[in-house]
Symmetry: C2
Amino acid sequence: MTLPMAFVGTLQIATPSRWFECAAQQWQDLLVDHANCEKKAASTALSLIFTYSQDMDLTERISRLAREELRHFEQVQRLMHKLNIPFKRMTPSRYGEGLRRAVHRNEPKRLLDLLCCGALIEARSCERFMGLASLLDDPLRSFYQGLSASEARHHELYLQLAAARFAETWRDNLNRLASVEAELITASDEQLRFHSGMPIL
Amino acid sequence: MTLPMAFVGTLQIATPSRWFECAAQQWQDLLVDHANCEKKAASTALSLIFTYSQDMDLTERISRLAREELRHFEQVQRLMHKLNIPFKRMTPSRYGEGLRRAVHRNEPKRLLDLLCCGALIEARSCERFMGLASLLDDPLRSFYQGLSASEARHHELYLQLAAARFAETWRDNLNRLASVEAELITASDEQLRFHSGMPIL
């Protein structure tokens, strides 16, 4: 698949087709992992709200994003219920931890990194939802189509927050983190997850 | 003030009038602390969702509650903006930490305790919003009136979750924690906060 135009400035590579083929086959596991991803997205957003509480423009917009992530979490759970997919504990993919390792510890670089990571994760999620929607049937097809639009908005929000606060440096920094992201997506992964790399088969 | 009937089985004492008098005078500081309380309520809810992720009924209902807490957080921030109240960092009151110390570390008692604490905090918040609404003018009066209705629903939700999972023990346990809560509310506090005890003047 080719990279959607909206993410050409953000993501450096498209997800390999093989990930989509495996993911479409293992859609049940992917849905359970997806519920975890929505929870984690809400949790990351809340953590930004606590850490940068003096930036009331950021906290307002990120709070709305967190609410949307939680609504998606509820929607995934309802879909699991409808499709008879039981809950199970799943280990997270290397992706989140891999990105976190590339985040600076000191401010203000840390905030910029966190916003860039947010943009990258949302862009990747959007790309994968779009690709999955084209391979799956309803109700997953329309669910993922709807979600891809939200993720595109979230990607845009993170970029806007970064650009407004780090006009000079955000672009270079995004590129630095995007190459870490591209490595995580192309490296081999034993377990298939929503943000995993190349499946080992 | 007398305890609202809805909380007679939950809270053991009414907030002393002097707290309301001081709080109405220091409404600006209270609003800043209130924003923190809404954030913390959302964070506590999210933590329940992560810890008890296998209980999909609980996570669904608590996720909706978390979204509501975040919406309230946004509303408080907008009110701060409208009333020209700048952000400032504030130390939390002893209340949250005091309740947390009374929570069991081992399951399943821990879950029951957390749900009972949730019910107590929401009931106390509702009682205080009702009292404050009667002492303040608009826009705070109608804002607090509206919030008191939400807190009453949240109190009810936490009790329902506890009663459905711990039919035999929830009542006694609620009473145990309610007496801890009553102590925290009646002990003297140097700093006025939304959940502080008796103001020292």
